[in-house]
């Protein structure tokens, strides 16, 4: 409920801004006009299929990235040799923007969903990987030693010590990756023209349909809010033992 008040504040601001000298209503329409445009979008079947396309690309890409990122992160993080071996490569590949890979993606897959997926996976994989690497490093030595002294093998230590410790980091990584995946899904559609919300935004932009464009931006933002709600709910369940969640009850 409180959360809505924050968003309501933004809506109010956008409603008022166009009436001030800061920005013209031609370029940032007031909230009510965006709402009308949003209404038109919602009534349009094309919008829903675009939304579907985007969500499919997002979900598939995110799943691949998260699974790959967690597995790679734990393997690399738990084996010091691997860590030393891959560190420089990771740092080299990480800052290469997905957008620079667009010609490559189009070359391989054209405007098919695979193009979008390539970009989505590439960008969000690193978010998860880096977080997992930091999480693995955060294992409490006393806890780890306890496990080792009780003869827990590598796999059991990953399962019972490393994974729970890294979980808060992983959750942050997934939340970062979820947003980046959405960003890249839409960007890819926007630039490559694969069907989805992104290409719809592109059309609205090049048609100077300003209110529609903002309506679509609002949809993207709301998707982000929804994704975060889900992530928080998962976290409350999975991390109920963690200081960050249990601390909440006391404060």
């Amino acid at each position: 409920m409180l959360g809505l008040s924050g968003l309501a504040g933004v809506l109010l601001l956008v409603e008022i801004l166009p009436y001030t000298a800061v920005v013209s209503a031609d370029f940032l329409p007031p909230t009510h006009r965006i709402a009308v445009a949003l209404g038109h979008e919602i009534a349009d079947g094309g919008f829903w299929s675009a939304l579907c396309d985007t969500l499919v690309a997002w979900a598939v890409g995110l799943t691949i990235a998260v699974v790959a990122g967690i597995v790679a992160g734990i393997v690399i993080g738990a084996v010091p040799l691997l860590r030393a071996l891959t560190a420089s490569t990771i740092e080299f590949l990480r800052p290469i923007p997905s957008v620079a890979l667009i010609p490559l993606a189009v070359l391989l897959y054209g405007t098919k969903i695979e193009s979008t997926l390539l970009l989505v996976v590439y960008a969000s994989f690193w978010q998860v990987l880096i977080q997992v690497l930091y999480g693995v490093q955060d294992v409490d030595p006393v806890a780890d030693e306890t496990a080792r002294s009780y003869g827990l093998g590598a796999w059991a230590r990953v399962r019972y010590v490393l994974w729970p410790t890294a979980l808060p980091y992983v959750m942050t990584g997934v939340r970062l990756a979820a947003a980046v995946a959405l960003v890249l899904a839409i960007t890819a559609e926007l630039v490559i023209g694969a069907p989805g919300l992104g290409s719809r935004i592109a059309v609205a932009q090049s048609s100077n349909a300003v209110a529609s464009m903002y309506a679509l931006i609002v949809v993207t933002g709301l998707l982000g809010v929804a994704i975060n709600l889900v992530a928080r709910a998962v976290e409350r369940f999975a991390l109920s033992w963690h200081q960050s969640v249990r601390g909440e009850v006391l404060v």
């Binding site: 560190a87 740092e91 080299f92 990480r94 957008v99 690193w126 947003a179 982000g224």
Partner: protein, 260 residues
């Protein structure tokens, strides 16, 4: 001495192997967009001359530094705010999540409305993208402050800025560092993206120009440079981090058993 050499060897082994694979894999390539690595490496020194570096890479780096700094300050500040109270988080989080989900290419035109088309816009774009991992990690780090330590501070009347500095920030610092590390690479990415709009110089601008003018080996040499830049910045970052978080790494190392 031998230890340093061994570490260097380890650091270089995989890149060397990958470059070898790239070299062999593309040696006979006639694909226009995937030129032989040989061609790319030949172009590299021709493209990235000192003049080019000064005219295009330096301005990019300055914008990156500015945007990153803003992001760190804003991310930590907001993160502490959002992380320290359930109420504040409830109000601010949806708003932040809303803006986080908007792709930079869509956001840039909106930012241009307010920040113009100059360097300010690019710095804002970089900051607006980098801030998220810092923010999220700070929030989580702040939430995870040890309860006993927090009680210790309370009972000794350590509050306000003193508590913020001595307890909250220090205890969250390993996680903040994780966020800053993430943000560094994202910053480079956004440096490129921001220069796709209303730019007339910069590394990203140059790479996009190469792409548009079908100078594909040149474009690849630019991507290579981006990677090298990321590598250099991360080495720098690690140096700083290992000093700032000496206590943390010391603690971990001190209690670790024999190398596994």
């Amino acid at each position: 001495m031998t230890r340093i050499l061994a570490r260097l060897g380890l650091a270089l082994a995989l890149p060397a192997a990958l470059f070898a694979a790239w070299w062999l894999g593309t040696a006979g390539s006639d694909n226009f967009y995937v030129p032989p690595l040989r061609d790319i490496l030949i172009r590299f020194p021709e493209v990235w001359t000192w003049d080019r570096l000064r005219a295009d890479v330096l301005p990019s780096l300055i914008r990156l530094a500015a945007g990153y700094t803003v992001a760190v300050l804003a991310g930590v500040l907001l993160g502490v705010l959002v992380g320290s109270g359930r109420r504040v988080r409830a109000v601010l989080e949806p708003v932040l999540e809303f803006f986080r989900a908007i792709p930079p290419p869509v956001l840039v035109p909106v930012i241009m409305l307010f920040a113009g088309i100059g360097d300010t816009m690019k710095v804002v774009v970089i900051a607006a993208g980098c801030v998220w991992p810092i923010l999220l990690n700070t929030v989580e780090g702040v939430r995870a402050v040890d309860g006993v330590l927090a009680d210790t501070c309370r009972s000794y009347g350590i509050a306000g800025p003193s508590r913020l500095w001595h307890l909250v920030l220090r205890s969250a610092s390993p996680q903040i560092a994780a966020g800053m590390r993430q943000a560094l690479s994202i910053g480079i990415i956004l440096m490129v993206i921001s220069e796709m709009f209303a730019a007339s110089n910069g590394l990203g601008f140059t790479i996009v120009q190469f792409q548009r003018s079908f100078a594909i080996p040149d474009m690849w040499s630019g991507i290579l440079l981006l990677g090298l830049l990321g590598l250099a910045l991360s080495v720098l970052f690690r140096l700083v981090e290992s000093r700032a978080l000496a206590w943390y790494h010391g603690q971990r190392r001190a209690q670790r058993g024999p190398a596994r």
